[in-house]
Amino acid sequence: MPLDRKIAHINLTTGDIDVKSIPLNVRKQFIGGRGLDAYLLYNYARKGVDPLGPENPLIISAGLLTATCASATARTHVMAKSPLTGLLGSTNMGGFFAPELAWAGFHHLVITGKADKPVYLFIHNGNIEIRDASGLWGKTTTDTQWAVREELGDDEVKSLVIGPAGENLVRFANVMTGIKNSGGRTGMGCVMGAKNLKAVAARGTLDIKIAHPMDALEYNKRFIDQITSAKVNQTQGTLGTPFIWGATNCWGGLRTRNFQYNQLEYADDIEPERLDEIATETIGPHHMTGCFACQVHCRAQYKIPSGPYAGKYDEGPEYTSLGAFGAEPGCTSAETVLTGNHLVNQFGMDNLETGSMIAWAMELYEEGILTEKHTDGLDLRFGNDAVLLEMVERICYRKGWLGDTLADGGIPAAEKIGKNSFDYLIQVKGMNNLHSDERATPALALNIATASRGSDHLRSRPAIDLYHLPEGVLRKIYGTPIPYDGPLSSEHTSYEGKAWMVFWQENCYMAVDCLGICKYHTTFLGATLPNFEDWPKVIYYNTGLEFTPEELWTVAERCNMIERMYNIREGLSRNDLKKGDTLNHRYFDEPCKRGAPDVIGMCIDREQFEKMLDEFYDYKGLDKNGKPKAATLKRLGLDREPSRLL
């Protein structure tokens, strides 16, 4: 049974809509989801396009396996040129939107142009309608979704929306769906805002054919057992992603007070177990929820227990909200974390970037680079909870000089603030780092330095490097599907073999993003979760497409390469502090002064880091400057791009 899935090109300026089938040869090369998005971006975004201009294509997609009988394949991927970094914009989110889009008849949308007034798209069983959104403009993310349902008279409509932050062109505005599922990174909500596109609503009752339904059903059971039996997912299903924050804070890998410390001490009130108690007290014993067809249920439900927002319902917080409203600004109050999480969810802005920007400003304030004149009188010191929450609102609505400045993102803000403020900005390629401190972990440092969308842990982080797994176990994981017999070290502070681990993870995460699978279902936090050898079965039973593990690896390499080609076209170069594969100087020359005993005082060795980067480039088939070699492009079939096949 041939796989017939659709892509729609939608022009908001002209109202033209063009629907095409996705050819199988394109599927074979780029699979779907993020990989196919990257192909589309490379093909449809002209070099140097204005990220906020009508020409910037906004690409929204479901993974190849989304809405098939494969668990936890609910991921939506969104791409465009990033208004935050000027490079690849790319974000991935869970929830229920992507499957609904698939049942509504589409797997990829390419949205260009700009509407002359606020609009939203309604996608329903093969039809696409551009509708007036004047009445939705100004609404929060959840109010927008409920208003769309009311207008359409259908409670089952799932929408991907922006909040006020996206409308106000905050450069790190989210796209969101549900209560808190966010595509947070690289400012895709800002791109929507610039297009006057408030929401994309989907509702579908079309069949997604399953190639071998009974095999798919049985294999899904086996796949789920493998996933839910992992200790990491049992913990995740009880405490959610805060459990990672707790562990990270314990071992000293937590970026605290804008990278000054590696640990938020005495943070008992915001430990995952405490948050779990609050969720139990305000919701009940069964307070965990999940994305479509996922049995890990890693998302907590809660009501804010106290303060001005007491009683408000929300979900999460995730690791990043604990970083943004906990460790980074140096706050230790659950009320602050839960309120901050609620505000960013309602405003539709990236919690990670928001927290990092405010923490950066806090350090600048304590250093005297920012003064009360800049802050309009706010006492922007670390640990000032009220000012932290006030700043969230000021950024969203661009209120005051500082709110407006920070809303433009790190590099433009540093240029505006001047002095040596840029030296304090913990970013790669213009995007702030996850709230983690990689000074003791070379593999993780290489990961954030080379991630294609700017500093990021979900592109290539070998998180299991911290587990000191026996070499035999590491060889079993990192030696398939492509044989590898180079060095592999169980020691997290070593530089040996780490380039290969990062390269392997980069391909692994690309593959799951193409398939639409969540990263908690692969080799990310747990060493025993499915990867290249398992996926060919899920793909075959569900879609009938045949891939070997080696072929999937090559597809992932190809998709990663086209992302890199895109970045190079937009100006990426190896040592550029603002657009390169390198790290803030603090990683190399400023040992952490306070925090967990073991990693205190550690730094990355610049020489060894550069050597590791050379090795990484070599595995990827790049030259010393990080540019793809001609032979690599030929091997991956990318020597004739852009090919414009769909």
Binding site: D207, P285, H286, Q295
Partner: protein, 168 residues
């Protein structure tokens, strides 16, 4: 008698709202992914985080069975279920109208009504629901778990009251 028959039970408090039950139900019965074809549907109030799976209760005195003008609906004792004979069914959807739970659905593609058939004794929704918001238990024990949970709540409340009393 070996068993008193098994019934599908739903404990909505445990439901995480993931809708895997809908997915596997449609795949098992129709070989496709499409919640519209699922016999079990999770009703949601997202704004307050409330999720309630709804399916056929296999009523003893079933309104659909009584209302069917062509007697196409009958009770199958061996599976303890209410079932449709598609050779007799005329597709009038009277059963859809009278079902008090909305558990009788209509498939607009094949123009057929459909409902839960307990997968002939191995309900896939139950098999895939790890939190057991949907379960398949002996009819005789249907309220035992609830009794125990309620008893536990009473006991906790009792202890709290006692400690309050002691503190006074």
């Amino acid at each position: 008698m070996e068993t008193s028959g098994k019934v599908l039970t739903i404990d909505h408090e445990k439901c995480t709202g993931c809708r895997l039950c809908e997915l596997v139900c449609a795949v098992k019965h129709d070989g496709v992914s499409n919640p519209m074809r699922s016999r079990i549907r999770v009703m949601k109030w997202e704004a307050e985080g409330l999720y309630i799976p709804m399916s056929c209760q296999q009523c003893e005195d079933a309104p659909c069975l009584k209302a069917c003008p062509v007697k196409a609906i009958s009770r199958n004792a061996s599976f303890e279920r209410v079932e449709i004979d598609y050779d007799l069914c005329i597709g009038c959807r009277t059963c859809v109208s009278v079902c008090p739970f909305g558990a009788m659905s209509f498939n607009p593609v094949e123009k057929k009504v459909f409902k839960c058939d307990l997968c002939d004794g191995d309900p896939q929704c139950v098999r895939f629901c790890e939190v057991k918001a949907v379960d398949y238990v002996d009819a005789a024990d249907v309220s035992l778990k609830k009794k125990k949970a309620a008893a536990h709540r009473i006991s906790v409340a009792g202890k709290e009251a006692a400690s309050l009393h002691a503190a006074l």
